[in-house]
Amino acid sequence: MNFPPIYGLLAEFDTSASLLKAARQARAEGYRTMDAFSPMPVEGLSEALGFRHTRLPWIVLAGGLFGAAGGFFLQWYLSVIGYPLNVGGRPYNSWPAFIVVSFELAILAAAFAAVLSMLACNGLPQPYHPLFNVPRFESASRDRFFLCIEAADPSFDPDKTRRFLESLKPHEIFEVPH
């Protein structure tokens, strides 16, 4: 396979507002394979980049239901089928007493589902990324805002894209090597 010589072009902005504007214009220009980077979440930025919604809530719901059902089944099975014992004259299936553990396991499973699926969808952990080759990118976690149009985008052209980015009046433009 033929890799482009660079990963993409990275434009640095001063504020989240200018980044948001830039992202909208880039999408309007027809760029699709691009990403924006900011030191804190910027409202509307992912939508501006064309990202609609995430399946995360459904995964979490499934996790929670699994935890609750599994937890209840575990207790019911162990108390009724696995090793039924007369404990204080209580019924084997003391379901009201089993609610607490079912609830806790529901929360536990849902929380794991939320965190793990967030990491998985984001492709984390990811030890290496081409953007880290740009020394200036370090300030993306401090106070600077970046837009990266990737070379993998069909409409990417090193010169045209650079000109387009310059038109957005960024602070600076970097070439991102692989």
């Binding site: 504020t15 989240s16 507002a17 992202a23 990403d35 924006a36 980077f37 900011s38 030191p39 804190m40 979440p41 910027v42 930025l45 992912s46 501006a48 980049l49 990202f51 995430t54 995360l56 809530p57 979490v60 929670g64 575990l74 207790q75 162990l78 108390s79 696995g82 090793y83 014992l85 404990v87 204080g88 007493a97 607490v100 553990v101 609830f103 806790e104 396991l105 929360i107 536990l108 849902a110 929380a111 794991f112 939320a114 965190v115 967030m118 990491l119 969808c121 984001n122 984390l124 952990p125 990811q126 030890p127 290496y128 953007l131 880290f132 370090e138 993306a140 976690s141 401090r142 106070d143």
Partner: protein, 445 residues
């Protein structure tokens, strides 16, 4: 709490916020105060280890517990610590859902406090076992002897509730730390720090799409942690409420315990925040507004707790039950009555000063009241555990409980453990959530 003075001092910018907070860890020299505090805390932790080793070697008999008072300091401390933990979760989860922006400069260390407090709490149920080496029998694992845990027991509920609480709090805390760890990775000068923070940051780079999923996950976690935090102290209260002892067997306990937990937790947050902001010059980030809000929450939850005291007395009288009535009278005039009246003084009277805005703005007064509340809440658990146990149904089996030196050593030891962990946290991790404070100071367009 939406209006009023600014949450963060207006002079801060996105860049200065980051520098200010990260400098505590990355650039400033370790302050002498930190070294002294850490040493003291570490010494207490060593006391704790000594007490635990002695306990394991000699047995539970070195404590003051007996029959009828089979639960003593261990359970009192357990409930106290786990209650303290609740404020962290409340600040990070419930206030997040309520979009209380002022939470963002205190939630990180409040969450850390939660974790450490739960850790301190969790050691007690384990230590108080007669045979601690078999603690894992409380978990449902496929064992050779085939006997499962007994799921009707509130102690098994405790295991699940506390384990879930700790795990979810840890996840929540870590997820919140992720972007800040990336900041540290990027700001750190030394190679080792860069590697360690880099590994912990998992390659976070602030992508907009990542932020989107991150926000969703963080909100969902907050949504999960909210019922969880309510459930945990409810379950802890079940240890008492589902028993048949006079004074324990009451439906009042779950709300009463949850309120008490948040109450003591906020007191602990104040006790930690007030010295911290002074020591590290964070008055601009943890502002009088924060202190004022926390004092208000303390007042509100404290009044709920006071309502609990009144209702306990009312229930005891209204029940017409001999044992219940005697328990209440014994609580007020029996051998442990000083603990009861001290609790009333701390939790019932001292906090009434918080009605006055002047007191809420007076930092030393606030600190003093918060300390009193911590003492009061410990004493409350003391009399709840002891007065019901030491004189129950049959007068012939009444007895007294006297804590031993090892009871005190273990308790003091967990305070040491708590502060040791807290000092390490302050030294190595961002004690204020940078990315969230950045969002507060970023000028909106």
């Amino acid at each position: 709490m939406g209006s009023g003075p600014p949450v963060i001092e207006p002079s801060y910018t996105v860049a200065t916020v980051t520098d200010k907070i990260s400098s505590v860890v990355l650039t400033r020299r370790t302050p002498v105060g930190w070294i002294i505090g850490f040493s003291v805390a570490l010494l207490l932790t060593m006391t704790f280890l000594t007490a635990v080793l002695t306990l394991f070697a000699a047995g539970i008999g070195i404590w003051g517990v007996n029959v009828p008072v089979a639960w003593g300091f261990a359970i009192i401390n357990f409930v106290w610590w786990i209650g303290i933990g609740h404020a962290g979760t409340l600040i990070s989860a419930i206030l997040l859902l309520m979009q209380q922006k002022w939470r963002q400069s205190i939630n990180r260390f409040a969450e850390a406090m939660t974790l450490f407090a739960v850790l301190c709490a969790a050691v007690f149920p384990l230590l108080h076992l007669g045979r601690p080496k078999f603690f894992y029998w409380l978990f449902p694992y496929p064992s050779l002897h085939g006997v499962p845990p007994q799921f009707r027991s509130p102690l098994v509920w405790d295991v699940f509730a506390v384990a879930t609480y700790f795990t979810v709090s840890l996840l929540f805390w870590y997820v919140g730390l992720l972007p800040d760890l990336a900041t540290f990775r990027d700001c750190a000068k030394r190679k080792l720090a860069k590697i360690v923070y880099g590994v912990l940051a998992m390659g976070w780079r602030g992508s907009a799409i990542h932020w989107h999923r991150y926000d969703t996950a963080y909100l969902l976690l907050a949504g999960l942690a909210t019922p969880l935090v309510v459930s945990v102290h409810t379950v802890v209260s079940f240890d008492f409420a589902t028993s048949i002892l006079p004074g324990w067997h009451t439906t009042l306990f779950p709300p009463y315990f949850v309120a008490g937990a948040i109450y003591s937790g906020f007191a602990m947050v104040l006790v930690l925040a007030i010295p911290l902001r002074a020591a590290y010059g964070l008055e601009g980030l943890i502002t009088p507004r924060h202190l004022d809000n926390m004092a208000k929450i303390m007042l509100a939850t404290g009044l709920i707790v006071d309502y609990g005291y009144v209702m306990e007395a009312f229930f005891a009288w209204y029940s017409g039950n001999e044992a219940e009535r005697f328990m209440m009278i014994n609580r007020m005039i029996g051998p442990y009555a000083p603990a009861f009246w001290a609790t009333i003084a701390c939790n019932g009277l001292a906090i009434l000063a918080l009605w006055f805005p002047r007191v809420r703005r007076n930092v030393p007064a606030l600190f003093g009241i918060a300390l009193l509340v911590l003492v009061g809440m410990w004493l409350e658990r003391f009399f709840i555990v002891l007065t019901s146990l030491h004189r129950d149904f049959l007068p012939s089996s009444w007895g007294m409980y006297y804590p031993t030196i090892w009871d005190w050593a273990t308790f003091a030891g967990t305070i040491g453990l708590f502060f040791t962990l807290l000092f390490l946290f302050i030294r190595f991790l961002p004690l204020i959530s940078m990315f969230e404070v950045r969002a507060l100071v970023e000028p909106k367009t």
